[in-house]
Symmetry: C2
Subunit: 314 residues, 2 copies
C-alpha cells in the first residue's frame, strides 16, 4: 500500500494542505487551500488550517497509510516544536500550529502520528534537494524571491534549522551599498531591496508607471530602461547577499524560485553573474545559482519531505 504524508504550507495569503506519497507526488484531488491574510483573526486562521487539512485528509484512499504530518510555515517560527509567529500574520504570535494540526488529525481518527514543523524556506530547500534543482547536493540554499525573500539551508547534507528554527532568513542578510529600512526593523536587508514590491516601488520612484511585478516584467521585456534597471538592481542585490551567505557557510548551489524570479528570462543568470563579479574568492564564486526545479507544488513537497526524508533533517 502507498504511504502518504499530510503536507501543510502556511503563508501570508493562503494555507494549503495535500497528501504526498513517498515519491513526492501530490495525490490528485487531495490539494486544498483556504485564504489567510494579515487582517485575519486567530480564529479565522485556525479555521482555515483546519478546513484545508480536513479536506486533504478526506482524500486518503481506503487502505493507505498516513505516516505523519509535515508543516512548512512562514517565518519567524518559535523553535521546532510547532509554534509560529509569522511576520505577515499578526494574529498569530507563538501560536501552536503543530498542535492544531495534531488535534485535527485526532479528530479525523488519525491521532498519535508525528507532526513536524519547520520554516517554509527550509521546506523549499528540502524539496530542491529531494526532487528539484539541487538533487544530490549537500551544501544548498533554497530561495524564494516573491512578495518577500526567504530561504533555507542544507549544509553537510542536513537541514540547518537553528535553535529557534529560524536559520535560513536570507531576506534579512544585509546588502552593501543599500540602507533601505526593512519591515524587520533593520536597514539594508535583501528583502527591503530586491523583493517584487520593493523592486516595483524603486522603478516607480524612477518614473515607471506600472504597479505590479507582471507590468514590470512586461515593460522590461519591451525594452523599458527603468524597468530593466529595476530588474538588474534586484538580481544584483540577490547575488551580493548570496556572496555573503557563501562566505559564511560555503554553499555549492543556490536554487531560486518564487514569482518574482520569473520577472525576466535572464534573472537567474543576472544573479549568478553578480555572485561571480562580487568576489575573487573561488570558494564564493564556485557557488552555482540555478532556477528552482520545482513546480507550484514545491512548498507542499518540501513539507512532505519532513515526513518522507527524515534522513535530511538535523
Amino acid at each position: 500500500m502507498t504511504d502518504y504524508a499530510l503536507a501543510v504550507d502556511l503563508g501570508g495569503t493562503k494555507v494549503e494542505a495535500a497528501l504526498v506519497d513517498a515519491a513526492g507526488s501530490v495525490l490528485t484531488g487531495s490539494r486544498h487551500r483556504r485564504p489567510t491574510g494579515s487582517s485575519a483573526t486567530s480564529e479565522q486562521l485556525a479555521a482555515a488550517v483546519t478546513d484545508a487539512v480536513r479536506d486533504a485528509l478526506a482524500a486518503l484512499p481506503a487502505g493507505a497509510t498516513l505516516r505523519g504530518a509535515g508543516i512548512g510555515s512562514a517565518g519567524p517560527i518559535a523553535g521546532t516544536t510547532g509554534d509560529v509567529s509569522p511576520l505577515n500574520l499578526p494574529a498569530w504570535r507563538s501560536y501552536p500550529l503543530g498542535g492544531l494540526v495534531a488535534e485535527t488529525l485526532t479528530s479525523a481518527g488519525l491521532g498519535g502520528l508525528p507532526v513536524t514543523l519547520r520554516m517554509d524556506g527550509i521546506c523549499i530547500a528540502l524539496a530542491e534537494v529531494w526532487l528539484g534543482a539541487a538533487q544530490g547536493e549537500t551544501n544548498v540554499m533554497g530561495m524564494i524571491v516573491s512578495t518577500g525573500v526567504g530561504g533555507g539551508l542544507i549544509l553537510g547534507g542536513r537541514v540547518v534549522a537553528g535553535p529557534t528554527g529560524n536559520a535560513g532568513h536570507i531576506g534579512h542578510v544585509a546588502v552593501a551599498g543599500h540602507d533601505d529600512r526593512c519591515a524587520c526593523g533593520a536597514r539594508g536587508c535583501l528583502e527591503a531591496i530586491a523583493s517584487g514590491p520593493r523592486t516595483v516601488a524603486w522603478a516607480r520612484e524612477h518614473g515607471f508607471g506600472g504597479t505590479t511585478g507582471e507590468e514590470l516584467a512586461a515593460a522590461a521585456a519591451a525594452g523599458d530602461d527603468v524597468a530593466r534597471r529595476a530588474v538588474q538592481r534586484s538580481a544584483a542585490a540577490v547575488g551580493r547577499a548570496i556572496a555573503s551567505a557563501s562566505a559564511l557557510v560555503d554553499l555549492d548551489v543556490v536554487a531560486i524560485g518564487g514569482g518574482f524570479s520569473h520577472v525576466s528570462d535572464d534573472y537567474i543568470a543576472l544573479v549568478g553573474a553578480a555572485v561571480a563579479e562580487h568576489s575573487d574568492f573561488s570558494f564564493v564564486t564556485k557557488t552555482r545559482v540555478v532556477a528552482s526545479g520545482l513546480s507550484g507544488e514545491g512548498p507542499l513537497i518540501g513539507a512532505a519531505a519532513l515526513v518522507h526524508r527524515t534522513d535530511l533533517i538535523g
Copy 2:
C-alpha cells in the same frame, strides 16, 4: 601517561607550534614560533613551519603519547585535506601544509599519525566552545577582529567547515550602508570597514593623527571625538554583520577576540548593542555577544581541539 596533540597555527605574520594535552593545557617549553609574512618565499614558509614543529616535538616528554596533529590556517584553505591558500601569504596557493606537517612528523619518528587541518577561525570557535566563553553552547560563532576579521561556526554542536573548508568567513559578509572596496574583490565587506587598519585609516581621513590601533585606543580613551567615533563605527559594523549572520544561521553566542577587540573597554558592549538595535526579530536579537574567553594560546588550543575534540568536528 599524558596524551598530547601537536598544535600548529599558521598566520600572516607568524607560525606557532606547541604540544597541548587533553585538558587543553599548553606544555611548558613546547611553544615555538617563526616569522612568516607576505614577502616570504614558499621555501621560507616551509622552513618556518618545519622548524617550529620540530622544536615543539622535541619537548614531547619521554613516555608520553602524541595522538596527532591539528593545524589552524589563515584562509582561504582548499578543502579539508590539508591544502592552503592564505590571502596574506601569496607564495602559498593550494600548498600542501598538512602534508608538510605529516612529513615533519615522519622525520621525527612519529609517522602515520592523523593530521587534521581547518581554517583558523574554525579553531577559534572550537577553542571557545571547549575552554573559552562559549562552553556548553551549540550554536556559536568565534570571531577575531584584528588586522583582518575572521571567524568560524559551530552549529547544532558540530563544526561547519563547508565543502571547501572556508565556512566562517564573517569578514567577507557585507554590511549595509557601506561600499568600501575589500581585498577580496568585493565591496562593503566587514573586514574592509571594521578591521584595525581600516578603522585607523577611517580615523585618519577624519583628522586623527596616529597610525596604530594602540594610538587609536589611547586617543579614544582620552576622549578624542574622531577616535571614539571610529571605534563606534567598527563595533556597529561588526554588530550588523553578526545580525546578518544570525538571520542566516540563528546563532546563540558570538565570542569575539583579537587585538582590535580590546581597542576600547566597551567595544564588545557596543557590538552587542548594534545587534540588538539592528533588528526586531527576537531570533536575531537573542544572539549574545561576549568577549573571548581565551588567552593568547587560543589559536593553539583550537588547533589541538582538532585532535582532542573530534566529537565537535563534522
